[in-house]
Amino acid sequence: MQPKKVLAVDDSKLMLRMYEVMLRGTPLVLAENGLQALEVLRQHRDVDLVLLDINMPLMNGLEFLEALKKEGRLPGLPVIVVSTDGEEDQIAKGLAAGATAYLTKPFDAEKLRAAIAALPENP
């Protein structure tokens, strides 16, 4: 898919800056935790892709996915979980919670672009 607007959610300032650089040219909105991300999504209804960290304060990635489900935004909104946790059971947990794809850190711009390009146009 080719996203029109991306929401990047991560409590690491470094990662948020990384997304800004890697996705330059694509409109991007940022959030530092799941709670903030929900608010940003309400303000930016045109977000059509979410890049989501798992381990975050206040509301973690899995809780955010649950909240999205309750709001009826899943499975319509593609979510790529981006996490340092690469264990099989964690990946399964993320996908079961409603994520469309799972990308492990560290990654580079090529991998991120490939993960986005591999997403279905209508999840």
Binding site: M1, Q2, G25, K105, A117
Partner: protein
């Protein structure tokens, strides 16, 4: 499913488009040659082998050029990716003048860009007496022998060697279980090390491109941290001085 890559960089997009366009044109040329040959066969005209062979050779050369161009483009994209990581790491290290935030950034670089699971930052104490553990992440009880508490007393062979000679060491390090020991320098002077004890499970080893990131940390992490610490110390002294002046004036 859309096979079209995401184009966040117009320059990269145009490079890929050019290669794809060249490939398409070559395929069209091949089809045209085949159609022409079929027409000639049907019309009973002998196929002129000489020019055809020359054309085939030129086609092969052009195909080889396109392949080389595609390989160069892929290499450039990999290089751009590496440079992006280095740029963001440097930017973020110098984006703050708070010592805690600089340490946090070093930790974020180690985890998110390097893939470190367990690591410590050891710094020479003010006045050059001993070493402090300024940052430790992911350590377990089994690692406590060398890195417990706030002081590094020595004993880890790889760490001690780098603290002595300032040379970056990568696994396998003789008599050491460290994955990497990175000297941290300020204006060329060794002030400490970043020791990586273990990588994330899905990253079995450091890659050649990680070396650039380690070199960056070696050159920038300590200077960013020391600049922040100096500013914090000066700020504290300034506030103390201001308080004393106010006290002396009876304010």
């Amino acid at each position: 499913m859309n096979d079209e890559p995401v184009r966040s960089n117009p320059a990269e997009g145009s490079g890929k488009e050019l290669v794809e366009e060249l490939k398409g044109t070559l395929e069209k040329a091949r089809q045209l040659v085949r159609q022409l040959e079929n027409q000639l066969v049907r019309a009973g005209v002998p196929i002129p082998r000489g020019p055809d062979q020359e054309l085939a050779a030129r086609l092969a050369r052009t195909e080889a050029d396109v392949k080389e161009l595609a390989a160069q483009l892929a290499a450039s994209e990999r290089q751009i990716s590496r440079l992006m990581n280095l740029y963001v790491a440097t930017y973020q290290l110098h984006a703050t003048l708070t010592p805690e935030e600089v340490l946090q950034t070093i930790a974020e670089i180690a985890v998110n860009l390097l893939g470190a699971k367990k690591f410590v930052v050891i710094l020479r104490r003010d006045g050059g007496q001993g070493f402090e553990v300024a940052l430790a992440q992911g350590l377990e009880a089994s690692d406590a022998a060398f890195f417990s508490g706030e002081e590094y007393r020595g004993g880890e062979v790889g760490v001690d060697a780098t603290l002595a000679d300032g040379v970056l060491r990568l696994a396998p390090i003789p008599k050491s279980t460290m994955v990497a020991v990175v000297p941290l320098k300020v204006q060329g002077e060794l002030v400490g090390v970043l020791a990586v004890l273990e990588l994330l499970p899905h990253k079995p080893a450091l890659r050649p491109e990680d070396r650039e990131l380690l070199d960056l940390l070696s050159a920038h992490a300590a200077s960013a941290l020391f600049a922040a610490r100096i500013l914090a110390t000066k700020d504290r002294r300034l506030r103390t001085l201001e308080s004393l002046i106010k006290l002396a004036r009876g304010e």
